[in-house]
Symmetry: C2
């Protein structure tokens, strides 16, 4: 972006923006270059770019079937990444932390000399205590009160804290900043895998609630009569009726799992497989009830579908839209757009990276004094 | 409150608070008096009080079976009030506006000379467009796009705009500022009459959403199979299962209506009437599902029950709490307190008054130049 555009966006004058970008450039966070083509008749305005390749974070994602780590540059570009599979069940804290730390160290050690690690962010599919990254509840792995953030910090040994967030919370921010929800500060992000999570932005702020555990969309009761059992111990939760187990079972494919299996059901449904089509319709119907309820409660500008719900919504939009029309108040739904995640499967990872950049963003000049890698 | 206490609350020093309270006193908004008993060994600190009897607003409440108007002083004290019945059905805009304006003019004309009307607020049981007080949707009276705010302003002819809000939104603020929710910025207020409405504060701010129509709690679908028909055209909404019609019908008292009828069911249930007890249990069970869902979504510090839900919760707390335990995530519910409205039946009216004071609060010195009554 040019200095002139920055000045306009921030409502400051040219001399102020010059002072600010000069300071950021001196700290090694942005570079400035003269534009190739002068704009109009006035002085050419310098283009200010983030130092994407010099300033990075480590971002981690504990996904359902794998552990992902990436080196993400300032501005959201994935510079390097590593993945490993993880056991579907019985993954304990040591296994997960050990696996992530090994990937993270590899990435860190491979970072070019002179680059700077500005922070570390991690995404986890559970309820995270703000501040220290304690997993209060992670039903999919059966975790209760596991010190994920502090253990990962210790195992990495980089000397930086690990900012942990719930996967859907992080993805909601990522979609708002860089994905399908740009310009929509009242945004609902729905994430599906085994579980179904939500990240809800109200006026651009994450809905935290009293203790930071808001947005538990997946455990909204939608089916009070004989609903499917949920990992949380209840039954009929949105997660139980719309997660991948529900879809795969309804399609007669119990025992399969993962996003590829979900994609196969959706593909077969589109191709005319009746069991698959029935499963998509049934699961999409419950998804529509959940979305209608959320639209009534939040009057969102955009609802973004991520993870397996991205696939499900693509195939079940008729069911979802019918339920919204049936149960959503016209005034509440008149401006709500429904969209697939713009960042695709990387929404959670990019969200973790943005969380990792949080400390730098809060105090760019102080933090940029971090010592370079190598 | 003393000047010293104000200074501490606001984080300013004594000379700053002296300058501020002197300015507010000169504008006629507060009075200052020396305390009867000097505090400790230091100088006595002057006590600053709002000019409750001098500065007032007109507050209106369109309740289910009556129209209410009050003159409310700065600080929330009801100085004078008038009520009239209204038709349960077929109340059109002219009838409601005419009735309210007559009450409001009476109150205004009866205000002592030298007092100042600082604003006008009105509560309506429907979806209100921010800015002009247009009722976008009021299912209970069948209103769609009725210019309630501007018509009431014109009918009153006082020369002040009417700030209109949804009744549950206004009551949520009133309970936060002066009722059961003081100190709890993450608050859910649930209001029952014929309809069920909600006002949700997230970090002390009303959840408005994209266009200001958030918090439509009453139309959350809780009963997807054969639920009761709702005034909104759908069925199985929280409102349909927990509003006064549902309770009275389940108790075998179809045809009765109003808060007194609801109170009678609750009283009879407590006294051992089996039909009444069954109605309370059934309706409370649905209320518990709704509250559990809201706790999962919002991680509130407090849930406040108002209108008929205040009575229902008092009798059906076991059902409500059982559902919260069954469906609410432990981490989400561990700090949520459930309370009856501290302001009782006046929560909406006091909320309307606070909305009426909004312009004065935003610019106290500029607004206080309003010409006195009489």
């Amino acid at each position: 972006m040019t200095r002139a555009a920055l000045a306009e966006r921030m409502g400051v004058n040219r001399s102020t923006i010059l002072a600010l970008t000069t300071e950021l450039a001196a700290a090694g966070l942005v570079s400035e270059e003269s534009p190739a083509v002068p704009e109009g008749a006035g002085r050419p305005s310098f283009v200010v770019r983030p130092e994407t390749r010099r300033v990075f974070v480590l971002a981690f994602d504990v996904a359902v079937d794998r552990l992902v780590a990436a080196r993400v540059g300032l501005g959201g570009a994935v510079l390097d990444r590593r993945e490993t599979t993880r056991p579907r069940t019985g993954a304990d804290l040591d296994t997960v932390v050990g696996g992530l730390a090994a990937l993270g160290r590899e990435l860190y050690d491979a970072a070019p000399p002179g680059t700077v690690c500005a922070g570390i962010g991690a995404s986890y599919c559970g309820m995270i205590r703000p501040g220290d990254g304690m997993v209060r509840y992670g039903p999919e792995m059966g975790w209760v009160d596991q010190a994920f953030g502090t253990e990962l910090e210790a195992a990495l040994g980089i000397g930086l804290p690990v900012a942990v967030g719930n996967e859907a919370h992080l993805a909601a921010f990522a979609e708002f900043q860089r994905g399908a929800g740009i310009g929509s500060p009242d945004l609902i992000y729905l994430h599906g895998d085994v579980g179904v999570g939500g990240g809800i932005l109200v006026g651009g702020q994450l809905l935290g609630g009293e203790s930071g555990y808001g947005c538990e969309v997946g455990h909204m009761l939608v089916n009070p009569y004989g609903g499917r059992e949920c990992l949380c111990g209840s039954s009929g939760c949105l997660e139980a009726e719309t997660g991948e187990y529900a879809l795969l079972e309804a399609a007669g494919r119990a025992g399969e799992f993962g996003r590829d299996a979900v994609r196969a059901v959706v593909r077969d449904a589109t191709a005319g497989d009746r069991a698959a089509a029935g499963a998509v319709a049934r699961t999409g119907d419950w998804l529509g009830i959940g979305v209608a309820n959320l639209i009534n409660l939040f009057n969102p500008g955009v609802v973004v579908f991520g993870g397996t719900l991205r696939e499900l919504y693509a195939a079940a939009a008729p069911q979802v839209n019918a339920r919204i029309k049936q149960h959503g108040m016209p005034v509440s739904r008149e401006r709500a757009r429904l969209l697939p995640a713009g960042l695709g499967d990387d929404a959670t990872l990019i969200g973790a990276a943005e969380r990792g950049f949080g400390a730098l963003m809060a105090d760019p000049i102080g933090r940029s004094a971090l010592s370079p890698v190598g």
